[in-house]
């Protein structure tokens, strides 16, 4: 792993170069919102932000994606599917929590049935991380094996050291490649500064997520009815969640489309017979909690939450999944 120091000017030059050779996506302002979008001018790339409103999952798993087309002519059916563009794509300024979430997506979309739509986008993408120096009150990555300066899932990590200088840590070959031939070697002082920033960022994260080890034993508890009462089943938490991947398939004219769906919605599980195993809101909310903190862990070895805090910040009725998970064992003893 190589480490180097680059200046703000160096970064600008790198961005200018990447704009020519790759599809470059980076956070930019849109009104009050910070969103990832194609870079047209390196000056517009935004660094001082806690996190983007939406996670980067949409670049790998778009909200709406055409899977194939069909054509019926004289009783014959023809099927065609588009090949994806293979141009390199650089996603610049990804926060460590969002990078980690993609590793969970990898587990889902790879495996026995390989989802080429997702995997091709992953293969052609380079993730340039931006260490988080100013986490928000709603962030809780530390308690979920992630952290404000974590490198997991990234190809390279940039830390803003202040004074227009940045520490660049190469993680993979394709990440290091982007910074080839620029900057200077890092010194002891800069490495110390980076450690201080990391420690300071960690200290700012006070929220912790601590699901009880025996979460399964609360499955039938009336607690879920109580805590889900104010949820309006709008699905915002699932759409903004970097680890939520539920989808539906549908035909729109000649296209077969995959689009995001959500376990918050009652029709999600409703069968044509009218039977619906998760008709009640409490069963749907419980599904969301258990999928993240129990089922995914059982099937793939880790909790499907990276602590980005978007669901807490953007929930219109302020449902706090962390509090709900943390409190479920305590509530039980109270009753």
């Amino acid at each position: 792993m190589t480490e180097k120091i680059v200046s703000k000017e160096d970064l600008k030059k790198i961005l200018e170069g990447l704009m020519k050779t790759s599809e470059l996506l980076a956070p930019g302002k849109e009104g009050d919102l910070v969103l990832f979008k194609p870079v047209k001018n390196p000056e517009e790339v935004f660094f001082a932000y806690p996190n983007s409103l939406k996670p980067v999952k949409e670049f790998f798993f778009p909200p709406r994606e055409e899977l194939f087309k069909h054509e019926i002519r004289e009783g014959k059916v023809g099927l065609s599917s588009e090949h994806q563009e293979n141009r390199k794509r650089v996603i610049w300024g990804v926060r460590p929590c969002d990078a980690k979430s993609l590793l969970m997506f990898d587990k889902m979309f790879d495996g026995e049935y390989k989802d080429s739509y997702y995997l091709e986008k992953r293969a052609k993408s380079v993730l340039v991380g931006l260490a988080c120096n100013e986490p928000l009150d709603s962030c809780f990555c530390l308690s979920l094996n992630a952290g404000p300066h974590a490198k997991e899932g990234l190809d390279v990590l940039i830390t803003d050291l202040g004074d227009d200088s940045y520490l660049v840590e190469g993680i993979t070959a394709k990440g290091e490649e982007l910074f080839q031939g620029c900057g200077k070697e890092s010194g002891e002082g800069e490495r110390t500064r980076k450690k201080e920033l990391e420690e300071a960022a960690k200290k700012k994260i006070r929220k912790t997520c601590q699901p009880p080890p025996d979460l399964e034993s609360f499955f039938e508890d009336p607690y879920w009815e109580k805590v889900s009462r104010k949820c309006i089943s709008c699905g915002v938490c699932t759409y903004l969640c970097p680890t939520c991947f539920c989808f539906d398939l549908s035909y729109e004219g000649r296209d077969c489309i995959r689009f995001w769906d959500s376990c918050s919605f009652s029709p999600f599980t409703k069968m044509t017979s009218g039977e619906n195993p998760r008709r009640e809101k409490k069963t749907r909310y419980r599904q969301r909690v258990y999928h993240k903190f129990s089922y995914f862990k059982k099937n793939f070895g880790e909790i499907a939450c990276v602590g980005c805090g978007r669901c807490l910040r953007e929930c219109p009725v302020k449902v706090d999944i962390v509090e709900i998970v943390n409190q479920c064992s305590k509530d039980k003893t109270k009753d």
Binding site: H70, H83, Y113, S116, F219, D248, T272
Partner: protein, 289 residues
């Protein structure tokens, strides 16, 4: 770049969502609202190479309308075609019922675990079916009849609301005439006619009357939830253990690949880990089935 997939291409689709094209060879009307569709893949190679286990399912696509999962009702021992028996229930099944022989549909699969056929060898098999629930059992029944020496005695208890609602009427006669197979048919009280020679009564009651022995036996049951519920009570009374009882579960299964997220019961995905489960497994589920 757009690649048109030729119907003659023998390459398996890399795109896991892309169906194979199949032509409807034959349509049989089973009941007023159930039809059996015999499908033949357009790709000649695939016609030979497509293998599956009884109890597995496919995703059936009507292009431009929608896609739904159905169990394979045919037996893998009968090569060259597949069959699905489909009840008219909603938008997709209505469109399927409107199809004619020669029409082209899309098929993805086979998916799911299927029945544990290997473990069934050397055992007595008791099939308990209700209504269209006979469809997945039919796949296994023909498989067992075609490999008769591998299995011991076969008992089939099958019932429906009325005589008109019994599916596979011609095949029921063939099963009846197969050595080592004992078939009992029943219709719900009021569903009989004057010349009805079968039983009159609900499936669990008739099962009790048939009184199969649990020794070296497995029960495979499929039917409406209310029937299953009482079949379990009856089997319990007859000292069958939950390991000896096998069924297939139903869930909304959109992708069939364990990815779309809706068919789970706890950490188990019905489309991938099922749809076939023993009752010993089902008893471990926290969520209701």
């Amino acid at each position: 770049m757009t690649e048109v997939l030729k119907p003659g291409s023998s390459e398996p689709p890399e795109n896991i969502y892309l169906p194979h094209l199949a032509a409807i060879k034959e349509i049989r009307e089973e009941t007023q609202d159930i039809k059996t569709f015999k499908l033949v893949f357009q790709d000649e190679e695939l016609r030979k190479s497509f293998t599956y286990k009884p109890g597995q399912f496919i995703e059936f696509s009507i292009f431009g309308v929608g896609e739904s999962p159905f169990c394979l009702a045919s037996s893998p021992t009968r090569e060259g075609y597949i069959e699905c028996s489909i009840k008219k229930m909603g938008k997709v099944t209505q469109a399927i019922h409107d199809l004619e022989e020669g029409d082209i549909v899309g098929i993805r699969g086979p998916y799911g675990n299927g029945f544990p056929v290997e473990e069934m060898k050397g055992k007595n098999l008791i099939f308990v079916g209700g209504g269209i629930g006979l469809a997945p059992l039919r796949s296994l029944i023909w498989n067992v009849i075609d490999r008769r020496d591998d299995f011991k005695d076969v008992i089939i208890v099958y019932g429906s609301r009325s005589i008109a609602d019994l599916v596979y009427k011609d095949e029921l006669k063939q099963w009846q005439n197969t050595p080592g197979v004992k078939l009992t048919l029943t219709v719900d009280p009021g569903g009989e006619a004057e010349d009805w020679k079968g039983e009159i009564g609900f499936v669990p009651t008739i099962l009790e009357k048939v009184n199969p022995s649990p020794g070296n036996s497995l029960v495979i049951t499929c039917g409406p939830p209310i029937m299953i519920k009482f079949v379990l009570v009856t089997l319990n009374k007859m000292n069958f253990s939950s390991q000896q009882i096998i069924t297939t579960l139903e869930r909304k299964m959109t992708c069939g690949l364990g990815k779309c997220g809706r068919c789970n019961i706890g950490s188990v995905y019905v489309c991938k880990d099922g749809p076939v489960f023993t009752y010993a497994q089902i008893e471990q589920f926290q969520e209701e089935i």
